[in-house]
Symmetry: C2
Subunit: 262 residues, 2 copies
């Protein structure tokens, strides 16, 4: 059985059995979780340049050697082929299938990118008394496509995807202060205030995650989101790209404080 | 004639004539200067991974396409082959020659890396009233090899090189606060206090730059230094690598404030 306070290694061993798990949110508090992006070696340099050029959306925690499924820098005995609770396989820019294990799909030329995740800064917000509506309600964070252009590095291009957190105005100021020094997990917000100013036309219906919860005197704050890299990789129409499924992240042995002030 | 307050474009046009210039330090205040590292395409992905893994030493401002000498992202009409006041050419890990212009050496497979420079944060320290001894004396910053290991990404490896700034203890605290949010120009210090704790055995004789100036009640603060990438590239024994000569940086059109809080 899984329980929230088990060690990252024990959680990964549970996940490796392909037991069902809706989300890694809330598991192993204090430890960082990572977004995953896997692609063939010939696209890896361009993708890394794309990430460096768009650091708020794609903060790099680690890049593997070609064919290496064991990111020891991120934790003990991690096998990226089995230790994520769900994977999405994209072919030529379209979702092909969703699987629990990618051992059978693994290629010797696969490069894995591990990208920081907002779960780390959400934990810090809560620890500092910032009330975030979707966390209070236990729902997924709402995510939206915007009209904010990314810096293109061919074949990767597109617009920024953001996650939205509604909170009191005083907490929004505090959230800027807290996340400013967490650049490896998306850093400070990219926008505060009117969603329509960044091209969000249907605020009530986010493209990803759950509908927003906003109280009367709340202000909305928007952070760059790891989903950005998935859309940019889809736009690139790679022959094959594999990501984690939404909300089903890789749980690492790195502690959240290691990703602050870095 | 060159004067300190000319525009970056005018300064580059002067430099392009191969007129002698001892250093770009102090030129074009307000504008960022960049470290330069040029290498053949087949090593570029490993070097970019190395930079991402060692972000304090090698904060990336821009990576070129292979063969592209025009980093328009950094400024108008920049030609990296002519617009740096001096270049060092390394072959198989050893300094081969020092030249004023690399047009004749240019290869279609050269990738140029533009790396943040501490001149940007020194300007901010001065603007905030922090008294830095080598700046007050008009000498070069002292730089030291340390025993702090870098994260290796084959063939790039080595130890961190640091620059040292001596100042009052109260200013050292302020300097941490100021540089923390300048991660694109080396960020916060890596060490404060005793030089011998990071493997500096002969403090009076730095490996690079001028001898240190320290007043009785000063404390020494150490920042990751762009020279680190040059030594790591020498350790890699690349067939050819080209860097700027010490103190002779590329002057960009990017303003220093663009590199803060990023």
């Amino acid at each position: 059985m899984i329980n929230a306070s088990m060690s990252p290694k024990a959680a990964r061993e549970y996940i490796r059995t392909n037991a069902p798990l809706a989300t890694t949110s809330g598991l192993c508090p204090g430890f960082a979780q990572a977004n995953l992006m896997i692609m063939e070696e010939q696209y890896a340099h361009a993708f890394l340049k794309f990430c460096v050029a768009n650091p708020k959306a794609c903060p790099i925690l680690h890049v593997s050697e070609p064919g290496d499924p064991f990111p020891t820098e991120l934790g003990e005995h991690i096998d990226v082929r089995t230790d994520v609770p769900g994977y999405r396989v994209y072919r030529h820019g379209a979702l092909d299938t969703e699987v629990l294990d990618i051992s059978a799909l693994w290629q010797d030329n696969f490069v894995s990118f591990y990208i920081g995740c907002s779960f780390s800064f959400e934990e810090s917000l809560v620890q500092h008394g910032v009330g975030v509506r979707h966390i209070e309600a236990g729902t997924n964070v709402p995510m939206y496509r915007t009209n904010i252009p990314l810096k293109s590095v061919a074949p990767f291009h597109g617009e920024l995807v953001v996650s939205m957190r509604a909170m009191r105005s005083s907490d929004a100021i505090k959230a800027v202060q807290i996340t400013t020094n967490m650049s490896k997990v998306h850093g400070s917000p990219v926008h505060i205030g009117a969603p329509e100013h960044i091209g969000i036309t249907n605020f009530a219906q986010p493209e990803f995650g759950d509908p927003p919860i906003v109280q009367d005197t709340d202000i909305t704050s928007f952070w760059a989101c790891g989903v950005t890299s998935q859309l940019a990789a889809m736009n690139a129409k790679l022959p094959i790209a594999i990501t984690h499924s939404p909300g089903k992240m890789l749980i690492t042995d790195r502690q959240n404080w290691e990703l602050e002030y870095s």
